[in-house]
Amino acid sequence: MTQISDTDLTQGGLAPEANAGRILLIACGALAREILALKEQNGWDHMVLTCLPAIYHIQPQKIPDAVKTVVKERRDQFDQIFVVYADCGTGGLLQNTCAELGVEMVAGPHCYSFYEGNDRFAELAEHEFTSFYLTDFLVRQFDAFVWKPMGLDRHPELRDMYFGNYEKLIYQAQTNDPALVEKARDCADRLGLAFEHRFTGYGDLEDALKAVAAD
């Protein structure tokens, strides 16, 4: 598998592995490893992955325009483009952008939902809305995505203002990695939350990419 660092995925994203091909996937950098793993497992060599900086997870207003730029740059080089983002905090704007560009995207509100399975997540949301979610990527990048941007490294006294209404941190694991489970448990401790480890695998992401791969 391509050697990539989480820091590069966070700040810079991922350049496409090839400049032309059948299907281009434009994804969030936080999904890069998972998509590359699925590509390898399923032999989806006709799919080319490029990623936008994962840090847009906390700056979702940047996502629609960034997606639009890549689609416009690359659409002549590929037969099909698929956007591997859910709504991701864009309040429907990414959906509008994709519709305008004539490209499809992943269904659902965010990666926590499609990893769990959108239908199941919607059911669980009734009872789990006091839960804070982390994925494999976000556990590894907890400081870059949670601790530092929220200023908790400089002002730990703000913690309860952010997390006082939360009860539990749910680590949605895409892979079985005991070290990540321990890191996630430590994240929960730092936030003062109870901890749950829940293996989700790739959830609806895998189904969405399978459907695209078969097109």
């Binding site: 429907g92 939902s113 200023g151 002002h155 209404n165």
Partner: protein
């Protein structure tokens, strides 16, 4: 701040003190703000004047720099914490001294959503602008908004949501108010990170407020129009 630069607030004249309080608010220095408020009170300033000139004035700078990307959420929260310290001293005094009341607002985060940072900021800024605010907290079903608005005789109902999954609930609240024939009794303002102008219009809100400062300006504008239409 190093020792040689230490500023003794009580030694500053009024103008310098207010300027210093702007800086202290900007830096989130709660104790210094409390001290500044107490000094101005001792000097005979009316509580409402301290609120508007020193605290709201300072928070307006914070709000503008947040909007312009110079300050970020942690710094705004620290500034808000400092302002809250000053407000805690002033609030009982404001009630005693009969500060002007601009209007009444009920605000809360919608059902299924526990994020209250934004609405707490709006509450504070609205109170600073002379509104009476009933903050009904988080995870509010339709009936909470309707009951609170009636009980409080509100002019404005504010709804907040941070999640894409919870923001559609705002439409359920508005539709319920329409069904009950009470929609037009209130100005409905909505806000929260994933919202936008288009969404606000689509659900039938009167205003989408990008941030707390915009919420205050819009609320004042609506109240001004209401007074004008009543006096016409």
């Amino acid at each position: 701040m190093s020792d040689e630069q230490e500023i003794i607030l009580s030694e500053l004249n009024d103008e310098e003190l207010v300027e210093q309080m702007f800086d202290d608010l900007y830096d989130g220095m709660k104790e210094e703000i409390e001290e500044g408020v107490n000094i101005l009170l001792e000097r005979g300033w009316e509580p409402y004047r301290i609120l508007t000139e020193a605290l709201v004035g300072g928070m307006t700078i914070v709000g503008a720099d947040f909007r312009d990307g110079i300050l970020f959420v942690p710094e705004v929260l620290l500034a808000a914490g400092a302002m809250k310290g000053g407000m805690a001293i002033l609030k009982p005094l404001l009630a005693e001294t009969g500060a002007p009341r601009v209007g009444k607002m009920v605000i809360g985060t919608v059902k299924g959503d526990i994020h209250d940072i934004g609405q707490n900021l709006v509450t504070m800024m609205m109170e600073g602008a002379g509104f009476e605010v009933m903050n009904i907290g988080i995870n509010n079903p339709v009936e909470n908004y309707i009951d609170a608005a009636k009980e409080f005789d509100a002019d404005i109902v504010g709804m907040s949501a941070l999640l894409t999954t919870t923001m559609p609930y705002m439409k359920i609240v508005i539709d319920s108010m329409v069904e009950k024939g009470i929609r037009d009794d209130y100005v409905i303002m909505v806000g929260g990170a994933p919202l936008n102008e288009e969404f606000g219009k689509a659900i039938g809100a009167d205003a989408y407020c990008r941030d707390a400062a915009v919420a205050v300006e819009m609320a004042k504008d609506f109240m001004g129009r209401k007074h004008n239409s009543l006096s016409a």
